[in-house]
């Protein structure tokens, strides 16, 4: 669990700088504009950068550069060790000590924020939308894509609702296709805008070779789905959207956040998915993330995972027995019955993942997704206990 932001002493930045941190050895070989490379120093007087003869953007040093004169950007006295490391893409802002990591080499969960705007208002939203003019995020994504390691296995795009970018989303997808053709791109969307067939057609015409859309369907029952997402007709739009995407051969993952309003009809939802969304490449049933709107709507959404397992078991096996690929996300293994555990994934992003004192002595810890850092006593399942040999 390493945060994505830290503070440091930052000098020499004008406006905003999105740069890649690299050791000088790697930077010399990298096919990146030197002016977008920030050289990582191991020792204060470690490297003689003049010799390389390249106009590097500047230097980073975890400790104190003291009087070392920096030509260009200088970042030192990094508050949280480890937050910034070679390979990372960071954002620096003029007159700010904040260092934000936009891409972390080796992380399992690099995600780019597309926008904070959203056309839904889900009751358990972990990242509540804001109606702000954040078009600059498109440029930030484009810059980030150009600095991500070319051999990165996966990259996510989230929001807000990424499809609200309209044609700018095509530009982002095209850039990813050109620069990161081997990187799996996973986009979280509510799919509603794909009800516009022409929009779905344009997005799929980018032909990104490794793109998956993660789209939620919360219930087979429109009223329940619309209640969860707090938007009338959302279910209709998402369902039409899913079929439009399927028509244009998009890869689709159905995401079901399991919560009080929909747990009762989970079996019916599985049946619905099998009958009507058979084209989905993957179905994920997900535990709640206790942050954002979820905290505010605790009473409406909370149900102990231990009380969901019968319904989950029905739904998961219904789909898996019929050849669909199914996963469980965000459920610690001690809350999951033994027969369902093969479906569990280590789904919680590394930067918000943690374990509890209860986990001491658990034999499954290495395979477990653990907990969201934002979890507190209210959100703790009664089933949590260390799993030992016999359970």
């Amino acid at each position: 669990m390493l945060p994505l932001h830290t503070r440091a002493r930052v000098k020499g930045v004008r406006d905003t700088a999105i740069v890649k941190v690299l050791t000088v050895d790697e930077a010399v070989q990298a096919e990146i504009d030197p002016e977008r490379c920030l050289i990582w120093l191991d020792r204060r007087d470690g490297n003689d950068l003049e010799k390389t003869g390249r106009p590097w953007a500047g230097i980073v040093f975890a400790g104190d550069l003291e009087s070392k004169v920096a030509d260009g950007i200088a970042v030192d006295r990094i508050e949280t060790p480890g937050v910034v490391a070679p390979g990372d893409v960071i954002r620096l802002t003029e007159l700010s000590s904040r260092v934000s990591v936009l891409y972390r080499r080796g992380s399992n969960s690099n995600t780019m924020l597309a926008t904070e705007r959203c056309n839904s208002f889900c009751i358990m939203c972990s990242q509540p939308p804001r109606e702000v003019d954040d078009g600059w995020l498109v440029d930030e994504m484009l810059e980030t894509i150009s600095l991500v390691d070319r051999d990165e296995a996966q990259l996510g795009i989230s929001g807000g609702e990424p499809t609200l970018l309209g044609d700018d989303l095509l530009v982002v997808l095209d850039r990813a296709r050109r620069l990161l053709p081997n990187t799996e791109l996973h986009i979280l969307s509510n799919g509603r805008r794909f009800a516009d067939e022409a929009f779905a057609r344009t997005v799929c015409a980018v032909r990104h070779p490794k793109l998956t859309w993660g789209i939620p369907v919360y219930s087979d029952c429109p009223e329940i789905h619309d209640y969860v997402v707090q938007a009338r007709s959302a279910w209709d739009e998402t369902l039409v959207g899913l079929h439009n995407l399927a028509k244009f051969k998009a890869n689709i993952e159905i995401r079901v956040v399991v919560q009080r309003p929909n747990v009762e009809r989970l079996g019916e939802l599985a049946y619905f998915i099998f009958r009507n969304l058979t084209f989905a490449g993957h179905v994920a049933f997900m535990g709640l993330e206790p942050i954002g709107f979820a905290r505010a709507n605790y009473e409406k959404i909370w149900i102990d995972p231990a009380d969901c397992m019968d319904a989950l078991s029905d739904a998961v096996f219904f789909l898996a027995n019929r050849g669909m690929s199914v996963s469980l996300y965000n459920y610690p293994l001690c809350t999951v019955p033994v027969e369902l555990r093969p479906f569990s994934r280590q789904s919680i992003s590394d930067w918000k993942n943690t374990f509890l004192p209860d986990c001491v002595g658990c034999t499954l810890r290495d395979e477990c997704c653990g907990f969201f850092r934002s979890m507190d006593g209210k959100w703790k399942s009664r089933a949590i206990k260390p799993v030992t040999g016999e359970s």
Binding site: D15, V19, A57, D167
Partner: protein
């Protein structure tokens, strides 16, 4: 004043061109302007800079002549983000060790980029052009003129689609992203 005159005055309202209209609204404006054969009073011929429309009315025809990337100014000089320090003017500007701004004092010691007051619009970078091509391809696809890949490349298929669209619109079939075409596609020039 006739209703056409009134509509025309509304469309020519400079605040609309300058302000932050959404693409959809702009598209609607374009549709209104072109949909029922509304002719602009004293409309200049093609190739002119000013179009009888709020959309792109002040833009230059910078995307029309696009042929290759070679003539473009490097991306670097166009970027606002990093590396500016390295390109400081040869007369060394004072580089103070800035700590924190005094609360009620103008931060005159901070070296700022000089505000760019340019009469000419900078040439688009390859990235800008590719972005514009993507918008054009998407707009042509939505209108049923294009069914190739959306790839940001102005290839034969895209040019053919542009010509087909231009023919339908009754404007010169240049196969290029000129202002008349962009405007009719509802695309504003950044």
């Amino acid at each position: 004043m006739t209703w056409r005159g009134r509509v025309w005055r509304l469309l020519g309202w400079p605040a609309l061109a300058a302000g932050g209209m959404t693409t959809a609204a702009l598209g609607a404006t374009v549709a209104a302007a072109t949909g029922d054969g509304l002719e602009a009073p004293g409309s200049p011929d093609s190739g002119s800079v000013l179009l009888p429309n709020t959309l792109n009315a002040t833009a230059e025809d910078q995307y029309a002549a696009h042929r290759s990337h070679s003539s473009h100014r490097s991306h670097r000089s166009h970027r606002s983000s990093s590396g500016g320090v390295r390109q400081a003017p040869s007369t060394p500007a004072p580089q103070p060790q800035y700590q924190s701004p005094p609360s009620n004092q103008a931060p005159s010691v901070i070296p700022r980029t000089t505000p760019r007051i340019e009469r000419t619009i900078p040439k688009p970078t390859p990235q800008d052009v590719s972005r514009m091509v993507i918008r054009v391809q998407a707009a042509l696809m939505r209108r049923g003129f294009y069914n190739g890949d959306i790839d940001g490349l102005l290839g034969p298929k895209t040019r053919a689609a542009l010509r087909a669209f231009q023919q339908t619109e009754g404007i010169p079939q240049t196969g290029r992203m000129d202002i008349a075409t962009l405007t009719r596609l509802g695309i504003s020039i950044p």
